[in-house]
């Protein structure tokens, strides 16, 4: 009790806070937690746990994303919910003062958050405080009660740095190499989605255990469903309506698969829980999903704006995406409407009408 004074400053009562937590938990379908008991449990549990937040080879995008949260606000997060003992982008101290904060926090029962990847080829690619970041991570990982790897870089596969030649790896690879058994939760996405991080923290602090995870150590609550299955454009996919021209209002809501969308391969809740206080998400903005929540991102999903090498289209089984692309390209050249040809590609016309080999 009493941690959430800033809510009062904004004119939000404790009851509103309880509603907020309850709604958050309910929205994410966290098993066994329902308002209002949930809110009480959460408030009891959130006794400002010490948090050490380390940054390796990162861009600070996950920090920026976390403080983009409006509900709860960034101030509530930083000053009320947790005791943020070490975070290079936010903390007051520098140099020896920050080292002092880090050493003090190591003595507590802290949660370790890691942002950014770790160079495995050469320690000197990431040095912090005159020390290889890899060694600092190992030290903190051994002592932490649990580790949350935020964003694609810190998660398995290491996202974009994982495609570079520094031998960048995520936290899970380091833990494996060092035989460290501290529980690890991966929260990939580029950057981490604040609702995912906050919900995971709430779950962990309430139950004192990691939530049910998938094989990539991602909480099933957030990474349990295929984006494609929840995509608001799924109906257009089924109808064979594919966006080819971003200017055309008629195509505005069409399926983005020909623009390279990785939705059929990507497990994320982006379609249900949008970004930036529910303002938008990539697909709603007409941008193909890049698959940033998967360990194959980025190396395995490049090129991002080309059709998938192979994906299932309704009614015609396994289709080579290039074939669909060529068909549509060719059709446009002879002035046939995109919709008609896409319909053909989807198999809703008779197969003999469609000359490409499926």
């Amino acid at each position: 009790m009493g941690n959430f004074d800033l809510l009062n400053a904004k004119g939000v009562s404790r009851r509103d806070f309880m509603k907020l937590v309850g709604a958050t938990i309910a929205a994410f379908g966290l098993p066994g937690l329902f308002a209002p008991q949930a809110a009480n449990a959460v408030e009891q549990a959130l006794n400002k746990p010490p948090v050490i937040w380390l940054e390796g080879m990162d861009c600070t995008g996950c920090t920026e994303s976390t403080i983009a949260s409006l509900n709860p606000s960034a101030a509530e997060l930083i000053l009320d919910m947790i005791s943020l003992r070490y975070h290079e982008t936010i903390m007051a101290g520098s140099g020896n003062k920050s080292e002092e904060a880090y050493q003090d926090a190591l003595k507590d029962k802290f949660i370790l958050v890691v942002e950014g990847s770790i160079p495995s080829k050469e320690d000197r690619y990431c040095m912090v405080g005159g020390k290889p970041f890899r060694l600092t991570l190992i030290e903190a990982a051994q002592k932490a009660q649990a580790i949350i790897a935020v964003g694609s870089c810190a998660s398995e596969g290491a996202g974009i740095p994982g495609a570079c030649d520094t031998g960048a790896v995520g936290v899970s690879e380091i833990l494996k190499a060092e035989g460290i058994s501290t529980p690890l939760i991966n929260l990939p996405c580029c950057p981490v989605k604040p609702t995912t991080l906050i919900g995971t923290l709430i779950y962990y602090l309430t139950y004192q255990k990691v939530p049910p995870l998938d094989t990539q150590n991602r909480p099933l609550a957030y990474y349990g469903t295929l984006l494609h299955d929840n995509c608001p454009r799924r109906g257009h996919f089924e109808n064979g309506e594919y966006l080819t021209d971003w200017n055309d209002p008629l195509q505005k809501e069409y399926c983005l698969i020909l623009k390279g969308c990785k939705g059929p391969k990507t497990y994320t809740d982006c379609a249900q829980v949008w970004w930036n206080d529910n303002a938008n998400f990539c697909i709603n903005a007409g941008s193909p999903c890049s698959g940033c929540s998967e360990k194959d991102f980025y190396q395995g999903f490049s090129p991002l704006y080309s059709k998938q090498e192979s994906f299932k289209l309704p009614g015609i089984g396994h289709v080579n995406a290039d074939t669909v692309g060529k068909t549509i390209g060719g059709a446009a050249a002879v002035g046939v409407g995109v919709h008609l040809v896409a319909t053909a590609a989807s198999g809703r016309l008779k197969k003999e009408d469609h000359k490409e080999d499926m």
Partner: protein, 519 residues
């Protein structure tokens, strides 16, 4: 003589180490050291050029949007794409909104703790209900013995503001600004998909075809931002800069080289001729002689960087970048770009001195403020106001575009050409940003970025001329070796972004240098 090492230098983007020598209470020598490398550019080689907007966007999550934007400008040129007015305006608004997030965040959340004694809040005696909540909050943190992340910290010094009213107001605004930066990102996301790391800006334009309702939503959020900048951010900077920090401002602590560079940015026409932020060069502080930018005068030196000396020359397109982590005398991953052989400061102060807006120049004259740490904060705040006001014009222009033939993308130039090259030179919040791409066989043959913090935080060059920050640190007073507050004030006033600055080298190949001059 004493040596001070600050590592990690926190409340910046990225990993930075500062080493200074202090003699008679003042800095006599300085080394600025970037300590992280990711290698993003070489990774782009051989890929679909369209990936570059998405990948380089992720160079930095603080100036989010900037790299994706610069990349799209380079690719537009290489693809021969003509971005329609709608696409140009939406890009401007996506990026502009992120600047509105970035500049106040730098002042309140990255810098302010260097200038206030936050514990003075406990002495607040006023009756403002909002400020009393802040006081209560801080007192409770202190009572609970848990004031992280506000402590530990350097001890407040003679310049630290300790007036309880002023400090309590500043802390209240720190909290308000946290909300405003989140709202600015939300506003950008309306067109961008999400922030940080938008997905909407692609070669040829943008992917988000907005409705009038979305544009109006954006406008109303913009008006809220404008009000915050007008009534809170800029007044706070002026109150501090012309009040308790005036001695720092007038002494020009952290002034540096007095050479300034701006590429200019935010096109107001489809040809990119009329730029909102102007391009220009200032040498030796001569504000009466703004020179045009000549790309051919940009050279990069690696004498003190962890690379082998170049055999091919020093233009960014030709110089070699073969790593040498054991190289004698080298001390940083940052290269040393020079313009006409001179180190150049980039960023808001450079841009505002090139543009000389009357309001800011009057303030500088009236209070006799010298270039330095405080002037940088003032320029940044003033620029934010100018930008927010200009963005309203872009919203109006966008709505005018939204008739029957509203276009946001050059669809005819979506596929990569067999060959091509392009330069995207613009401004990021932290200064001049350039992306350079060369395409061969429909793939990226070379990709190169020259980013703001590389200019500002460059090391010595082969003539042993110090980089801009290194120069700015010389002479900075350090009366207490254990609390080098003035050093971190000067460093942070540049709003450093090391993730941007030190991704440039290619440790395996030396192929970045194959560009030719003159394009």
């Amino acid at each position: 003589m004493a040596k001070i090492v600050v590592d990690p230098l926190t409340r910046i983007e990225g990993h930075l180490r500062i080493e200074v020598e202090v003699e008679n209470g003042k800095v006599s020598d300085a080394h600025v050291i970037g300590t992280m490398y990711r290698g993003i550019e070489p990774m782009l080689r051989g890929r679909d050029p369209r990936d570059a907007t998405y990948v380089t966007e992720r160079v930095c999550g603080v100036c989010a949007g900037s790299h994706g934007w610069a990349s799209s400008l380079a690719l537009d040129q290489a693809f021969g794409a003509k971005v329609p007015s709608g696409g140009r305006l939406i890009r401007n608004l996506i990026i502009g909104a992120m600047w509105l997030h970035d500049h106040p965040l730098h002042f309140y959340h990255l810098s302010a703790l260097d200038y206030i004694d936050i514990m003075a809040v406990a002495q607040y005696q006023g009756k403002d209900p909002g400020l009393l909540v802040v006081k209560d909050k801080i007192v409770k943190l202190v009572t609970a013995g848990d004031t992280a992340p506000l402590t530990p910290r350097y001890k407040p010094d003679e310049f630290s503001v300790n007036d309880p009213e002023l400090v309590t107001m500043a802390v209240a605004h720190y909290i308000k600004a946290l909300e405003m930066q989140a709202k600015a990102k939300k506003m950008s996301a309306l067109f961008a998909g999400k922030q940080p790391h938008q997905s909407s800006i692609v070669v040829g334009g943008v992917t988000m075809l907005p409705t009038l309702e979305t544009v109006e939503r954006f406008r109303s959020m913009l008006l809220e931002q404008l009000e915050f900048v007008e009534k809170t951010y800029l007044p706070d900077v002026i109150t501090f800069g012309t009040g308790p920090l005036l001695p720092l401002a007038q002494a020009g602590v952290g002034g540096g080289s007095l050479n300034y560079l701006s590429f200019g940015g935010f096109a107001r026409d489809d040809e990119g001729k009329d730029l909102f932020l102007k391009a220009g060069i200032i040498m030796n502080g001569d504000l009466n002689n703004i020179l045009p930018v000549d790309e051919a005068k940009i050279m990069e030196d690696v004498q003190y960087s962890w690379y082998k000396a170049s055999a091919n020359g020093k233009t960014p397109y030709l110089s070699e970048t073969i790593p040498d982590l054991d190289k004698k005398d080298a001390y940083t991953f940052v290269k040393a770009p020079r313009y006409d052989g001179q180190p150049m400061e980039v960023g808001p102060l450079a841009r505002m001195l090139v543009m000389k807006p009357k309001g800011l120049m009057d303030l500088i004259t009236q209070y006799n403020i010298k270039p330095g740490a405080v002037a940088r904060h003032a320029a940044r705040a003033y620029e934010t106001l100018l930008l927010a006001e200009e963005m309203l014009n872009w919203v109006d222009a966008l709505e005018k575009e939204m008739g029957s033939n509203f276009r946001i993308h050059d669809t005819d130039h979506w596929e990569a050409p067999a060959t091509g090259q392009g330069a995207g030179m613009t401004e990021a919040p932290r200064g001049s940003l350039g992306h350079f791409v060369k395409i061969g066989d429909h793939k990226i043959e070379n990709y190169q970025m020259i980013v703001p913090t590389t200019w500002n935080f460059s090391p010595r060059d082969d003539k042993s001329v110090l980089g801009p920050l290194e120069q700015a640190l010389i002479g900075v007073p350090v009366p207490d070796l254990d609390n080098p507050l003035n050093i971190v004030r000067v460093v942070r006033s540049y709003d450093p972004c090391l993730a941007c600055a030190i991704h440039l080298i290619n440790p395996v190949t030396n192929d970045i240098q194959k560009f030719q001059i003159g394009w």
